[in-house]
Symmetry: C2
């Protein structure tokens, strides 16, 4: 079974990308972080660690990760794009608390099935979907 490093290595070969220290740093950090993260956040994390790197490189590398299938871009209604792990991470969707901003991941096989039904009914060939449920998390609606 190919691992994430291997997937990206193959992607680099196919795209004739050279090996790069900075890019490797970004990838390493991205893979080490559990939660979804924005380009700016990842950039700040790297700088905090003392890594000398420019924002552009972080941004471009995240885009590459998305293209290679290792990352998925998600956005929650605001304008900031977040990147989360995709490889061997079955698709999931998010609950977003409107009070504290917390996001909760959930998986729903039923939703996946429903997506197919809806698509079929509309003669549509689905490739991906994005469901965000907005509301209040347990902590926030008890206050």
């Amino acid at each position: 079974m190919k691992d994430e490093q291997q997937v990206f290595a193959d992607f680099c070969t196919a795209r004739k990308l050279k090996n790069s220290t900075r890019r490797n740093k970004v990838i390493e950090k991205f893979l080490a972080v559990e939660k979804h993260i924005s380009a700016l956040e990842l950039y700040n994390e790297l700088r905090k660690d003392g890594t000398a790197i420019g924002y552009s490189t972080v941004y471009r590398t995240l885009k590459l990760l998305a293209e290679s299938g290792l990352a998925r871009e998600v956005n929650f209604g605001n304008r900031e794009t977040h990147f989360e792990h995709k490889f061997q991470h079955p698709h999931h969707d998010h609950l977003v608390c409107l009070v504290c901003g917390q996001t909760i991941e959930f998986k729903s096989p039923r939703l996946e099935k429903l997506q197919l039904q809806i698509a079929r009914k509309n003669k549509f060939k689905p490739q991906a979907h994005n469901l965000v449920i907005y509301g209040q998390c347990a902590k926030c609606y008890r206050l």
Copy 2:
């Protein structure tokens, strides 16, 4: 049964908003257009009709419409926010064709039910949701 004009009138009273010709124009146009529309598009429509109005006013009025419950903001992954009718328009979601950009609306009572189940399981109080299914419409995947 209150109609849209009445809903907005009540909203104005509550918010101590004065009556304004420009704003009324925006609302009239928004209510007359069937499909979702962006602030810029609505602005252009109004100008095309010869209405002297600034972009800011259109933008602000659309925001007010959203606050009053007459409009819903939707976005499809790109950066542009669209506004669509909400009042007495049961919630629906969208299929977006990645090839031609066409959007198809659909309603799914099952999805509504599923949202409640998912929320309950996560101790979450849902207020709204947004589902976008990306893929190819019939016209585009047959090519």
